[in-house]
Every structure is written in structure tokens, then in C-alpha cells.
């Protein structure tokens, strides 16, 4: 019996379908606070941690050696520059870095599940999606070095700016997808020029009202948007069990949209389900929700200290489920790649990291005048006055910028 028809009779009821395995709590138990967010009976997996590939009837996908090698390359490269970001921060070259370690499959699978004409609305950890959208990793550095708030052209890349305020981007994505409908860009087949949108958010974000409203609007307007939740099980120091009783994808049913949980460490599952979902939206059957169940292997950011709130051994255990390793094992076992290939990828990764580092170290701080640029598109008297007055004020210092009295002009805000 589905949970929406919980038996009210006090005597122990049957485990609700969907909560799945008999080991999972009964409705009454859930109501008493036993959590089952990790319950995995219905998790979609194509490639096991041991590298065994099993096709999924509902999510057909052509798995070639080339595809696997490409996905492997993607994951190795993004992990490599992600690690470089961490060390650059440690060395004081960046003020902060947001690591994606452990979420390579969840991101590459989703990123490669998109088509060129699709649009993505990320949160702030989606460096792997950025990679798939053609954003050069060096374009990510400005945010973390403090030279800009967004370093790529979101219109050209069809990859929106990072959104830091949790949940906001889901509504922006839902609205963008409404536009795709209004533009008549929805209704075609997978190979058509029809479009779809995908938005990314974390497990913790699912608590925010904006995520809910985005699902309400998306289902109200049949918008072609995929809600892609990377459940890495932690919102900084808070485990998802604190915020939810059941797997997050199960929220979808209540809105009347399909929802699935995929093994977020299985790049093939993430790819197959995302592609299916994007094409489903493209054809007019959106929205769809996907929960990629994974694990945040590193700190929340370089400012965070996970030792204060979680066990190292859990993290150790998740290493056995490494998203890259299982592809490597599969490639080797199936003879789809040799040592040269792996060495080549490693070399490419190191070169990328080197370029990434060199670029970061060489980044110049922007000029003070840029502080006033782009606040408005049309001319704005007040902004222009403040810019002019401030530049005049700075000139007052001449060479000695540190001290000395400015000659003239107004400083400050007014």
C-alpha cells in the first residue's frame, strides 16, 4: 500500500511500498522519526561498484568503449582541477574553494545527458557541469579568487551563473523552461531542436520554499525542467536524515511528476536517466525529478572542518564506491582501455591542473572602476556620479595610495 494511503490503524501496518525493503521503517515508525533517507531498494544502477554493467530496461543507452573512455576522461580531469582548486586555496591563491570530490559521476552523467541547446541552472558546486557546458575551468576561478562574481558568459555557454542563495536557481530554471514552452521549443523528439532545462541543487536545499515553488510552477505549466538533486547526504554539518524522513525523489509523486533515485556514483546511470529525463521534458512530458544519491568526500568548502561533525570511517567506506574507479575496472576488465590510455589521461589531467594553477596565480585584481560596471544596463545618473567622484577621489592620492590626504572630490557613498 502506498504511503499516501497509510493505514491509520494503530496496530503495526505493512511497510509502505516505496519506502521499499522490509528492513525499512513502517509508516508508524517513520511517523515516530525513524529515518530511511538512505533506503536504496529502488535505486537505479547500471554499473556496479565492482564494475559490472547491467542494462536497465527503462533507461536504454548505447554503451560503447568510446563513451566509457570519454566519461572516464571527464571525471579524471574534473577531479584533477578540483583538487588543484583545493591546494590553490591552501596556498592562499584562492579565498575559498568548493570541492566536488565524490560527485564526479553525478555531475558528468548529468552534464553529458544534456544536449547543446539545453540550458543549465547550477548551484555553486557544479564544476563538472560547467566542464560539460564548455566553460573552461579557469573561468571558474574568479569567483573563488574574488575577482568577479561569475567568470563565464552564461548566455553563450547556456550555463547560468552560479547561484549561492540556496534554492533560488530552481525557480529561475522553472521560469526559463516556461519560456521554452512559450517559444514553441517543446514537443519534438530527442533529435529535434526542442529544448529542455536542468537545475541542480543539494539535499539540504530541498528544505527551501523556492524548491517547492519551482516544482509547483513547473508542474502547473508542464515546463521542460529536470530537478536534479545531488544528495551528497550532507548540508555542511547537517545530515539529510535531520531534514527528511524518506528518499528525496519521493517528493516528486506528490506534485504529479516522475521521480527517480539513481546511484550518484554510477556515471552510466546518471547519464542514462538524465538523458531520458531531458528528452521526456523536451517532448512535453516534463517536469521530472532525479535524486543522485552520492556522498560528499571532502569538506563542504575549504573553510569547513568535517571532523567536527562526521566520522572519518563513513567517508572511508564510501571510497569503495568511488565513481571513477568502477569505470576504470570495467574498462580494464572488458579490455576497452590499456595502460597507455590511462597514462595519457593522467598526463592530460596534470597539464590541465598546471594551466589552471598558472592562470589562477596570474590573475590581476580588477580596477576600481569595474565596481560600478553592470549595475544597470541603461544609463544611471547616480551610479555614474559615484564612479566619477570615486575615481577623482582616488586620483587625489597620487602615487601614495596608502596614506596622504586626497586633494578634492567626494568619497564614500554620497
Amino acid at each position: 500500500m502506498a504511503p499516501e494511503q497509510w493505514t491509520p490503524s494503530p496496530q503495526a501496518p505493512a511497510a509502505p511500498e516505496g519506502v521499499g525493503a522490509a528492513t525499512s521503517p513502517s509508516p508508524a515508525e517513520v511517523a515516530r522519526g525513524l529515518r530511511a533517507t538512505g533506503e536504496g531498494a529502488d535505486t537505479i544502477q547500471l554499473l556496479s561498484p565492482e564494475g559490472e554493467y547491467t542494462p536497465h530496461p527503462d533507461f536504454p543507452i548505447e554503451v560503447s568503449g568510446e563513451l566509457l573512455r570519454d566519461l572516464y576522461r571527464d571525471m579524471v580531469l574534473i577531479r584533477r582541477f578540483d583538487r588543484e582548486g583545493n591546494s590553490l586555496q591552501r596556498q592562499g591563491q584562492l579565498s575559498i574553494w568548493v570541492p566536488l570530490l565524490g560527485q564526479e559521476a553525478a555531475q558528468i552523467g548529468a552534464g553529458r545527458g544534456m544536449r547543446d541547446q539545453d540550458m543549465a541552472f547550477p548551484s555553486y558546486r557544479e564544476h563538472g557541469i560547467a566542464w560539460c557546458r564548455g566553460v573552461d575551468p579557469t573561468e571558474l576561478l574568479g569567483i573563488f579568487r574574488g575577482t568577479n562574481h561569475s567568470g563565464w558568459n552564461p548566455v553563450e555557454k547556456r550555463f547560468h551563473t552560479y547561484t549561492i542563495v540556496i534554492g533560488n536557481q530552481a525557480l529561475n530554471a522553472a521560469g526559463y523552461a516556461m519560456g521554452q514552452v512559450f517559444d514553441g521549443k517543446v514537443g519534438g523528439g530527442p533529435e529535434s531542436d526542442s529544448e529542455a532545462t536542468i537545475t541542480f541543487f543539494g539535499d539540504g536545499a530541498t528544505a527551501q520554499g523556492d524548491i517547492h515553488e519551482a516544482m509547483v510552477f513547473a508542474t502547473a505549466y508542464d515546463s521542460p525542467v529536470v530537478f536534479y538533486c545531488q544528495n551528497n547526504q550532507w548540508a555542511i554539518s547537517e545530515p539529510i536524515e535531520k531534514m527528511a524522513r524518506l528518499p528525496l525523489y519521493r517528493r516528486a509523486a506528490g506534485y504529479g511528476m516522475p521521480g527517480f533515485r539513481v546511484d550518484g556514483n554510477d556515471v552510466l546511470a546518471c547519464l542514462a536517466v538524465t538523458r531520458w529525463a531531458m528528452d521526456e521534458c523536451r517532448s512535453g512530458n516534463g517536469p521530472v525529478m532525479i535524486e543522485a544519491f552520492t556522498y560528499r568526500m571532502d569538506a563542504h568548502t575549504t573553510s569547513d572542518d568535517p571532523n567536527r561533525y562526521r566520522m572519518a570511517d563513513t567517508t572511508e567506506a564510501w571510497k569503495l564506491l568511488d565513481p571513477i574507479e568502477r569505470v576504470r575496472v570495467h574498462l580494464v576488465r572488458e579490455g576497452l582501455a590499456d595502460q597507455d590510455f590511462f597514462d595519457g589521461i593522467q598526463a592530460e589531467a596534470d597539464a590541465l591542473a598546471e594551466r589552471f594553477r598558472a592562470f589562477a596565480v596570474a590573475m590581476e585584481p580588477p580596477g576600481p572602476e569595474t565596481m560600478f560596471s553592470g549595475v544597470y544596463t541603461a544609463p544611471h545618473a547616480q551610479t555614474e556620479r559615484q564612479r566619477a567622484e570615486f575615481l577623482e577621489y582616488l586620483e587625489g592620492f597620487g602615487d601614495d595610495a596608502a596614506h596622504g590626504e586626497p586633494a578634492n572630490a567626494a568619497g564614500g557613498g554620497h
Binding site: P154, L171, N172, D210, Y376
Partner: protein
Amino acid sequence: MSTATGTTATSSQSVTLAKALNMGLRAAMEADDKVLVMGEDVGKLGGVFRITDALQKDFGEHRVLDTPLAESGIIGTAVGLALRGYRPVCEIQFDGFVFPGFDQIISQVAKLTYRSRGAYQMPLTIRIPYGGGIGAVEHHAESPEAFFCHIAGLRVVACANPADAYWMIQEAIACPDPVVFFEPKRRYWEKGELDTSVDPGTTFSSVLRSSSNNSAVTLIGFGATMPTVFAAAAAAAEDGIACDVVDLRSLSPLDLGPVLESVQHTGRAVVVSEAPGEVSLASEVAARITEEAFYSLAAPVQRVTGFDVPYPPSKLEEEYLPDLDKVLHAVDRSLAY
């Protein structure tokens, strides 16, 4: 009340402020099919004030959207639509209901152009029927302009008469930047002359509504308080006190040109708005005038505002709101210096 253009050409007609807004929206939708109207009950109902009356019937459900009941959702999806090339006009049903959408406004609407370093434009208009005096229940009579004027990245304007309503809503929609558009709901049914054939040029500027070379005080208002200001000016004139009258129209950025010019002569200013006075637009106007016309001032700028209490039950609103007597009293306070 004089119209924006001041003209009374024969081609002009007398319409209510509500009707003028409806005409302005229609004109904007006809001029650009990327213009969308969205909000609660804006479709068949035409909005609770009928400002969008018949627009859905004439432009269809994809141009005029009855949205789910969620302001963050309305603003947040409008942002996405704007990024897609649309020009959404969001109706907030009443002033007190804009706050669930405040986060999207300050974090996305106001900042995306800056964040994207100009790659994105944000041609989004947020219409807010505001102000008191209609005998409504709580949350239906507030004047929240101060919150938006403090947010860099937004433009904030208020219309005070039908002609301005007609032209300003079109200028707001045509603007590539986000505009928070305040409509004095108490004045929706007041009529004024509208000549749609004479484009007044930009209306996002303040205007000197009346002046004389023997004016003793400069009265400053906008939106809902303009009729009160005009009435006070007339009453003061009877008492032999001539007043200049300025309608700010553009609340952010402030355009104090006409005010400063007037204050050069009068040396005295009174600013009138309905919102609580603490950290309000009236505070900014007073501070700015003092900064830019210090030596001209014979008295501190007097503020006539709502009290610093939540908007009271409607049986008390006439006590709460600025009225003719309070403005005259402020004029006296100013002249007493």
C-alpha cells in the same frame, strides 16, 4: 490635478488612473510580444483592481498568466523568463504580499546583471498597488518603497496621475533594468487628462508641478501623497503662503534637480510620504537636500510621514496618514525657523 504633459489638447481624454494603467499595459503588449503579464488573478478576473482587465481575453493565456499563489515563485520564474528574452510584468496583489518574493528580488532580480557583468539584462517590472486610505484589513495598505530604494540594481518609480501611469508603465516595461513600479491604489479611481498622442519623453524624473517666484516652501511628494500635497499648497495659498510643489516620480535613483532649484529660492522643504519615517525615502530626501543645498536652507527639511508603528486598523488610518493639516503644520514648523 495637472497631467504629466500639462497639456489639455483636444485629443486628450479623461480616464481613471486604473484605466490608464490598463491602457499602458495594453499598449506595451501590442508593441512587443515578449511582454508578459503575470500574477495572481490577473487573468479572467483582471486582477483584484482590474488593472489587467480583458488582457488575457485579448492576448491569450501565454501572454497573461494566472500564476500559482506564491510570490517568490512569481518573481523567480519571471527572472527565468527575462533571461529567456521575455519582459515580464509581475503584479503583486497588495503591498504587504511582496515580501515572500523579497529574496528573489534582492538576490537575483537586482544582482544578475551585475553578477553576469552585463551579459544578462533584467527587463522585469514589478507592479505594486500600495498605500492606505481604502479601509482595508492588515497588509493591504503599506508603503514599502524604502526597502526597494535601498537595493542597488533596482529602479523604483511611483505614478501619481493617469497620464504618468500610462507613460511610466510603458517606460518601465521598455527599460532593460528591473523596475519596481508603485501604484497609489487609493487613487486608482481618480480621473485625469490623458493624451496618448503626445509622448512626454522620459517620465523617470521628478517634475515641478507648480511654482511661483514668491514661494516660501517647497512641498515634495510622490504617488499617493500628491493630492494631499496639492491640497495643502492650495490651503497654504489661501493663508498667503505660496508653495512650490514637486512630484518625485523617480524614487531611485532620486532626481532632486527640480527640488534643489526650488529650495534655492524657498530655503524650506517639506517631504510627504505614507511610510513610517524611520530610515525611509523621506529620510534620504531630507539628508540629500541638506547635503546639496546646505547654505540655502533656512530650516531643516520637515518630514510628514506615517508613524513608526505597524499600519493600524483602518478606522485609525486617517489619523496615521499624512493629511492636509499635518502638511500645513509642517509648513508652519518650517516657517517658524
